[in-house]
Symmetry: C2
Subunit: 382 residues, 2 copies
């Protein structure tokens, strides 16, 4: 194992009705006023908003609403929210939603005390020295943002989907009630499964130092996600499956499976970010297209680990069989495996490749991901 | 999954030469003077003490020595150390050693600000409201104490081996350098393996709610511990194996594999604590004796999970084969599986049973662990 520092101070309050405790958690942290971030107005129709407001009121926590955050969240909205948070003098950001709302909340939290434009923090022009505390109630399990220190936001002007990361951005408290996720659509369930699996395989396949223990934990997560996805497609009200799916999702990107690994990169995310930045496709749907294509190209670089994957996930014996089985499984649950299913065609490839190459420089892996390589991968995904 | 709150704020600084950073970690936390706890004088001969002192000095952190902490640490020593810590007005406790030193450090940390006798905190007479911060450099991977909020200490007068637990007792920073563990004796390596496996199987077999995901993570830990123990018996200098062994040990008792499980108990620890309290046997050696005997009796209560264990750990098909394989594996690595190997015989059983029954009341499982049951388990371990 390589040297590492593991630190993850997020409190995860997990289970039924835990959203009723949000006011208490905020009050315990001394918070008086929050910017309440959310996406669509759905939370006002399904009762969640009312539960949150009641909990805030009963603990004398004031709030200012900031709704309308979209999937593949955008920096313009973050900028508006920063202005609102400053004007209203809030002392914390509360996200009620999935990863897009939470990532926006983190960007807002970092942007409020920063004097320049918040995008500076995404392009390395400035560091995040401080941030408002972030709290959240998670309504979609996929991104792992509820227990990590990162956030991904798209700049609509430059078509860049970039990330920030800082120890300041770990949520103070994340409330994860799997019962709130019962109403997640069938499509978003399977896209989420693809996203979690992508978080798992990036390090699993690309790390130059990948302890056996870590491979085993990754396999525990993937096998759990596959099993519970299938259960939830049959019965979306299966709380047991919903809770294991959610907790596996959290573990996939909270640092645990990367601690002690080294030399890894995020090529699948690098490629997918181009798709969602340019075509606004759901992140997980983009990933389920990219992964099999990337794996077919990359397997030559880590043959033994691809054989391990085939064996421990699908009970197959060769790398090719494992990749084919994953692609088939994606097909079976109904998440796309072809660019054409996303409405992306041969004629779009030059623009995609250009965007991917920008990401490759940003991710620091441009030497490996040359135009030819990116072309090869995307071509096989058409 | 059952509802839970997961919170683990310990920073683990893991890897080679990390002990050189202890002064920096203390200084960053504003610590000016520590009680430096350790066990034998070995750390003065092997150079570790000098490294620690150099690091403290270079960050202007003063220290007072408190050596001589023994395995199966005792409350009388903790009381002495509390008096010393108060007299010297230290503002943190630094443990340099294994679980016994660290557990003592936690008890000292809780005892210094408490006005009564520290044993009160072990018997529930008082709660731990505050504690001095604890830092540690770990030299033996086994107990998991480096990333949890508990500590176990023996009261020599009453022959009770009891525990404390409080969010105040999470170490602030734990330094884990697997290279420091190369000199662990062959015996203590295999006892440690048994201890880690015991942490894994308690919840795995006894929880009334045991998510499949958690079973998979437990199996990842056990398989890693077995594989790396065998590697280390062949080559104690195998850093790769040493590091995976250490990190798996940390994961076995940092809350991760218990979050979302419920209704579990610690019967193997309950029985073993009687052995080490009465006969001062190494904790892990006691556990490797207790586990197969307990499993033979308990398997009827959770047949499916015992079959799962047999399959996923040993590739066997029946519960009996799995238990036999574990016992055989303990024999193969040289950790005891019979009470007689610990010098405990038929004539000692009445005293052991009496002590176990006291522990059963303390652990809250006296209804299950009646005198007859305890007798049956111990008898089969003779």
């Amino acid at each position: 194992m390589d040297n590492f520092l593991f630190y993850n101070p997020t409190k995860v309050d997990f289970g039924t009705n835990k959203e009723q405790l949000i006011g208490q958690h905020l009050a315990e942290a001394g918070i008086k006023k929050v910017l309440l971030c959310y996406g669509s107005e759905r939370i006002k129709h399904d009762g969640l908003f009312a539960v949150v407001v009641k909990s805030l009121d009963s603990h004398q926590v004031q709030f200012v609403e900031c709704g309308g955050i979209v999937s593949n969240p955008v920096i313009s909205k973050v900028r508006q929210a920063i202005a609102l948070a400053r004007a209203e003098n809030v002392d914390a950001i509360l996200s009620v939603g999935g990863g897009s709302v939470l990532d926006s909340a983190k960007a807002i939290a970092a942007g409020v005390p920063y004097q320049g434009d918040v995008w500076d923090l995404f392009i390395g022009k400035a560091q995040i020295d401080t941030a408002l505390p972030v709290f959240d109630i998670l309504t979609l399990a996929a991104t792992g943002s509820e227990m990590n220190s990162g956030a991904v936001v798209t700049n609509e002007d430059t078509k860049e989907k970039f990330a920030i990361g800082s120890v300041q951005l770990f949520p103070r408290v994340s409330i994860v009630n799997p019962a709130l996720m019962q109403t997640v659509s069938r499509n978003y369930l399977v896209y989420s499964a693809a996203d979690i699996i992508a978080h798992c395989i990036e390090g699993y396949f690309t790390a130059s130092v990948q302890p056996r223990f870590h491979s085993r934990m990754v396999e525990a997560i993937i096998n759990t996600v596959m099993e519970t996805t299938e259960a939830l497609l049959k019965d979306p009200t299966d709380y047991h499956a919903r809770s294991e799916f959610a907790w596996a999702s959290t573990q996939a990107l909270n640092g645990l499976i990367y601690a002690g690994t080294s030399g890894f990169s995020y090529p699948n995310h690098m490629i997918e970010h181009a798709l969602s930045a340019l075509f606004n496709v759901p992140h997980g749907a983009g990933l389920s297209v990219v992964m099999p294509a990337w794996m077919k190209w990359y397997q030559q670089h880590n043959a033994a680990q691809f054989e391990r994957f085939a064996k421990h996930i699908f009970g197959k014996s060769t790398a090719e069989e494992g990749i084919a089985a994953l692609e088939k499984w994606f097909d079976s649950i109904g998440t796309p495996t072809r660019l054409s299913q996303l409405g992306i065609h041969q004629s779009d490839l030059p623009a995609v490749i250009e965007n991917v190459l920008g990401n490759a420089r940003y991710f620091g892996i441009a030497e490996t991901y040359t135009p030819d390589v990116v072309q090869t991968i995307l071509q096989s995904a058409l």
